[in-house]
């Protein structure tokens, strides 16, 4: 089984994100592998270890993306494709999906495993749109994958009414939730080895496409501005005699907040 997984390099959300004049302040930001993609990479590596799958990752972005590719190598991904083209700085989910379609069509893949969303945009669209472009079956928000045979997998998905069990015919696209596994950390030795491993770097021309093709009629939506999140303020905090302060708070919930 040949698997393609997608890895996005995103802003580290553990750090403070500041907005100034409608834009994100770049100073002080750090970049990491997207949390959901880390789970996708772990899923691929487990399928390699347990089912003999062949694993390839693709990452779209600038020169710095090599760090998330090497990190994934260190965990056990075998092949890496880096799509690096200066025309892609403002790419949205549709543009990413179109590029991924081109990458998919150049290989002979049985399964695409993507993270269900990226922690920078929080869109949760790219993997699903890719499946539409490819005309492949797709299940999103996947929390478990079982290989049935060469042509079929069974996946579990967190749905509205519980866990949905879906049988998929390959080739297919799945997008995974972080709860699918506990991603391993790269070992130092693995990181050293990963530095020597080659990465296939491609621009749009090398992929057999162009900025006109991947952007179609233009971006479907554009960010006009970022707005700082309105932070909640600390309210009334009560300490002391538990029966007394609890009664007081219940009275406030009923008469002040009017939510009970």
């Amino acid at each position: 089984m040949k698997i393609l997984t997608t890895v996005k390099r995103v802003v580290d959300v553990e750090l403070t994100i500041r907005v100034d004049n409608g834009a994100i302040v770049e100073e002080g930001l750090q970049y990491v592998i997207n949390a959901w993609d880390e789970s996708a990479v772990e899923t691929c590596v487990q399928l390699k270890e347990n089912k003999g799958a062949e694993t390839t990752l693709v990452s779209i972005g600038g020169d710095d993306n090599t760090d998330v590719i090497r990190r994934s190598y260190a965990i056990g991904i075998e092949n890496g494709i880096h799509v690096n083209d200066p025309a892609l700085t403002d790419a949205d989910a549709f543009v990413y999906a179109k590029i991924l379609q081109k990458v998919y069509e150049k290989g002979d893949y049985d399964l695409v495993i993507a993270g269900k969303q990226a922690q920078d945009t929080d869109n949760g669209q790219t993997g699903i749109i890719l499946a539409e472009y490819l005309g492949l079956p797709c299940v999103s928000n996947v929390i478990g994958i079982d290989v049935i045979d060469d042509q079929h997998i069974k996946v579990s998905r967190l749905g509205d009414a519980g866990t949905e069990i879906v049988e998929l015919e390959l080739p297919a696209v799945v997008t995974v939730d972080v709860s699918i596994n506990e991603p391993r950390l790269p070992a130092t030795r693995g990181l050293m080895m990963a530095k020597k491993k080659p990465i296939t770097v491609m621009d749009l021309a090398a992929l057999g496409t162009s900025v006109e093709e991947v952007k179609g009629a233009g971006l479907k939506s554009e960010i006009i501005e970022y707005i700082p999140q309105q932070e909640r303020k600390a309210g009334q905090k009560f300490e002391g005699d538990a029966p007394q302060i609890t009664a007081q708070v219940v009275d406030l919930l009923v008469n002040e907040a009017k939510v009970i």
């Binding site: 802003v11 959300v13 553990e14 994100i17 949390a35 549709f94 922690q119 920078d120 945009t121 929080d122 869109n123 949760g124 669209q125 699903i128 749109i129 539409e132 492949l136 079956p137 797709c138 999103s140 928000n141 069974k154 579990s156 998905r157 967190l158 749905g159 509205d160 009414a161 519980g162 866990t163 949905e164 069990i165 879906v166 049988e167 998929l168 015919e169 709860s179 479907k220 939506s221 554009e222 006009i224 970022y226 707005i227 700082p228 999140q229 909640r232 600390a234 309210g235 009334q236 905090k237 009560f238 300490e239 538990a242 029966p243 302060i245 609890t246 708070v249 219940v250 907040a257 939510v259």
Partner: protein, 319 residues
């Protein structure tokens, strides 16, 4: 004129509140309204769809649509979108909505925005507001396409009480089933419990509850209040509760009228999932716990002492 097509949010055969909320918002910004309902044996929901504020009801009622399957559901929405000529196609905040919306957008070649909290309409120009970067900032986007597909964040819009609609039912032909992604079964892990996304009150338990005894104590409070019962990541990671109960950035995002955090310190991860609640009450024995920085009301105390008193006091006021 702008026209909104709202996807009826149906769970266990009943219409959820988000449908009226989305239709109310559409009317408030001056749009015409239509709704599309997808399922099996859903004819009885039509009066509810009308009173929720829709002026046309597209209904796909077929035994093949009993279990959720993203492909056929998307086909129904696309069919209704084309017939209605809607330029705004809105889903309520649900896992099925998040799975179907990007498919519909790709098929219609329309813009797609998830998690939106507001929509502005000026002539034909649509702008939306949504959170991004793990809920740390908001972004304002301009839609460049004629049509847009959106998933509306829970609690973003309010239903107006005086809203009404007109009955005008259009039956949709059943879609082809997805033979390459076959839904086998749905294993309910929540039983008949109240859905976190719908609940008016959500009570979540954290590490402070220590073990099953503590969890059961907090669960009793949730049961008293008919509240949704959630959890911090710590209690899920420790194996006490399933992932479906986790409130937070990588779990469920909730915005109830009242959120009660019991024994939860308030990690960024958790706050990202509940900061949108209207009123927050926190119970924690550590007066310095970060949860108090976002709580409207805070009780500093041991939950094992406070929760039983809280139950008694709430019973006195008629719950």
């Amino acid at each position: 004129m702008a026209k909104a097509l709202v996807i009826a949010d149906i769970k266990n055969g009943a219409l959820k509140g988000s449908t009226a909320e989305l239709l109310s918002k559409a009317k408030a910004i001056g749009a015409e309204t239509a709704v599309v309902a997808i399922g099996s044996n859903i004819e009885s929901l039509i009066p509810g769809l009308v009173s929720a504020g829709s002026d046309t009801q597209y209904v796909a009622d077929d035994p093949g649509l009993e279990l959720f399957s993203a492909g056929p559901y998307a086909s129904c929405v696309v069919d209704a979108a084309k017939q209605s000529g809607a330029n705004m196609i809105w889903f309520g905040f649900s896992e099925s909505g998040k799975a179907v919306a990007p498919r519909v957008a790709a098929q219609l070649d329309a813009a797609c925005a998830t998690d939106i909290t507001d929509v502005m309409l000026e002539g034909d120009q649509i702008e939306i507001i949504r959170p991004a970067i793990t809920n740390k900032v908001m972004q304002r986007l301009k839609i460049n396409t004629d049509q847009m597909v959106a998933v509306v964040r829970a609690g973003a819009f309010e239903a107006t009480e005086e809203i009404t609609g007109t009955e005008n039912v259009v039956k949709l032909s059943p879609p082809e089933s997805d033979l390459k992604a076959v839904i086998k079964e749905i294993v309910s892990d929540a039983g008949s419990e109240i859905d976190l996304a719908d609940a008016n009150i959500v009570i979540s338990v954290g590490r402070g509850a220590k073990d099953q005894t503590g969890i059961d104590l907090v669960k009793e409070l949730a049961d008293d209040l008919n509240a949704g019962f959630g959890s911090s990541r710590a209690m899920v990671d420790a194996g006490f509760l399933p992932h479906s109960k986790q409130v937070g950035q990588t779990g469920k995002i909730v915005a109830p009228a009242l959120y009660i955090a019991v024994g939860i310190s308030g990690a960024i991860q958790h706050l990202a999932g509940m900061k949108g609640s209207k009123v927050i009450l926190a119970v924690n024995k550590d007066p310095e716990a970060p949860i108090f920085n976002v709580a409207d009301y805070g009780i500093v105390g041991d939950l094992f002492e406070v929760v039983p008193i809280l139950r008694e006091e709430l019973k006195k006021v008629g719950n």
